[in-house]
Amino acid sequence: MVSLDRPQLILMLVSWNYRYRNSPMDHIDPRARFIFSFAVLFSATTTWNPNILFAVFLIAITWYSLGRLTWKDTRLGWFMISIMLFTMIVVNTIITGGGAGGVVPERGQLIWPEGVLLFGRHVNVGLTVERLWFAVSQLMRILSISLVFIMIPYTMDSRAYGVTFSKLGLPDRLAYTMELSFRFIPTLARNFQVTLDAQRARGFELDAGKGNVIQKIRQVAPLLIPVTMNAIVSSEDIANAMDLRGFGQRKRTWLYELKFNWWDWAIIVFSIVMLATTVILAYRFDMRLFSVPRWWYGLFD
C-alpha cells in the first residue's frame, strides 16, 4: 500500500486543481477534514446568534489559512460565491429586504429616517439597523461554510476520495464508483479532444454562436453524442473486466492507505466539541434566534 503523505506526480491530461503545497492541510487525514467541514456546516446553520457565528467564522478562517492557498488558486470559486452573496445579501437583504423575511422583525430602527438625496431626488430607503446586521450575520454564515468547502478540491488529493468515503462508512461499491470516476476523467478528456479534432476536420465549429439558445444547445450534439456513447461502451468494457475478476465478492482493499495521527484525532474531538457546544448554546441556553448586539445600534445613533 502507498501512503498519501508523500507528494507524487499525477500524470493526467486534465488539470486537477490539487497540488501538493506541503501545507499543514496536506498532512491532515481526509476523514478528519470531512468531519471538521461538516461540523462547521452544522454549527454555522444551527444559530443566528452573532457571537457563535463570529466564533465559527474565526475558526473557518484559521482552517482556511492552513491550506496556504493563494488568491490566484481559488479566484474562480470565490467569483461564483461572490455572485451568490451579492444576490442573497445585497439585493435580497439590503436593497429589497426580502431575504431577511421571517428572521428579522418587520419594524426596526431606520438607518436613514429622513431618506437620502439621490441624483437630486429625495428617496426613502427602508433599510433598518437590524436588517443590516442580518446581512452581516448572513455573510459570516455563508463565508464560514464557503471557506471550509471551497478549499477541498485545491487541497485534497483526488486519489484520496474513494478510500476516504469508504473508511467513513460509505458502501464499497459507491466508494469505488467515485474512485473510478476520478480515474476515468483523463480518458474522457482524451476522448473529448479526439472527437473535437475529428469533428473539426469535418468542418464542425463549436464556437459558431449562431441561432437561439435551443439551436446553440443542438450545436453541441455532434460533440456530446460520440463522447457519451464512447463512454458507455468503455464503461461496459470496464464492468465486464471487473465482473471477470470477481469484483464485489468480498471486501476490497485500497491501494492508498489512510493513517490517523494524533492531530487528526485532535481535529475530530475539536469538531465534536464545537458542534456540541453550538447545539447546547442554541437550544439549552436559547441562543438560536437572531439578535442584534448593543454596540451595533451605537454605530447608527
Binding site: V14, S15, W16, N17, S37, L41, T45, W48, D73, T74, L76, G77, M80, I81, M84, T87, M88, V91, N92, G98, G99, A100, G101, G102, V103, S137, Q138, R141, I142, I145, S146, F149, I150, M151, I152, P153, Y154, S158, L174, T177, M178, S181, F182, I185, V213, I214, I217, R218, V220, A221, L224, I225, T228, M229, I232, V233
Partner: protein, 131 residues
C-alpha cells in the same frame, strides 16, 4: 438524466451526484454536497421511468423521457434550492428566483434538447451491439 433513462435510478443518481462533484472539482467551485444531492435526484427521477422505456427511439419513450427531465429537474433543483433556506438563511423568494428558477430552466433546456438526441443515438448502439 440520460444515464438514468438508460441504466436505471441508481446509475442516474450516482452519475448526477458524482458527476456534479467532479465538475465542481475540475472547475474549482468547491464541494457543495446539497447541490450534488440535487443533481443526483435529477438523474434518479428519469431512472424511475427507465422501466417503462423499452425502445429508446420510439415517440412514446421520448415523450416519457422528456416528462422525466422536467420532473427530475423540478425535484432535484427544488431540493437543492430549498436547502439554501437552511444553509444560507435565505427566504423563499430568494430560493425561488435566485436559486431554483435559473438552475431549473437551464437544466430542462439542456435536458429537453439533448435527451431525445442521446436516446436515438443509444438506440442505434443497442441495436447494433445486440445489448
Amino acid at each position: 438524466m440520460f444515464f438514468g433513462i438508460a441504466f436505471g435510478p441508481v446509475v442516474g443518481f450516482i452519475t448526477g451526484f458524482v458527476g456534479n462533484i467532479l465538475a465542481d472539482m475540475l472547475s474549482g467551485y468547491g464541494f457543495w454536497v446539497w447541490w450534488d444531492l440535487g443533481n443526483g435526484l435529477m438523474g434518479l427521477v428519469p431512472g424511475l421511468f427507465s422501466a417503462m422505456i423499452y425502445k429508446y427511439n420510439e415517440q412514446k419513450s421520448i415523450i416519457l423521457g422528456e416528462v422525466s427531465v422536467i420532473l427530475g429537474a423540478a425535484l432535484g433543483m427544488g431540493v437543492a434550492s430549498l436547502s439554501e433556506l437552511w444553509v444560507s438563511g435565505a427566504d423563499m423568494n430568494t430560493v425561488i428566483f435566485a436559486n431554483f428558477l435559473p438552475a431549473f430552466l437551464t437544466n430542462i433546456l439542456w435536458g429537453l434538447v439533448l435527451l431525445p438526441i442521446l436516446m436515438v443515438a443509444y438506440a442505434a448502439i443497442v441495436q447494433r451491439s445486440g445489448r
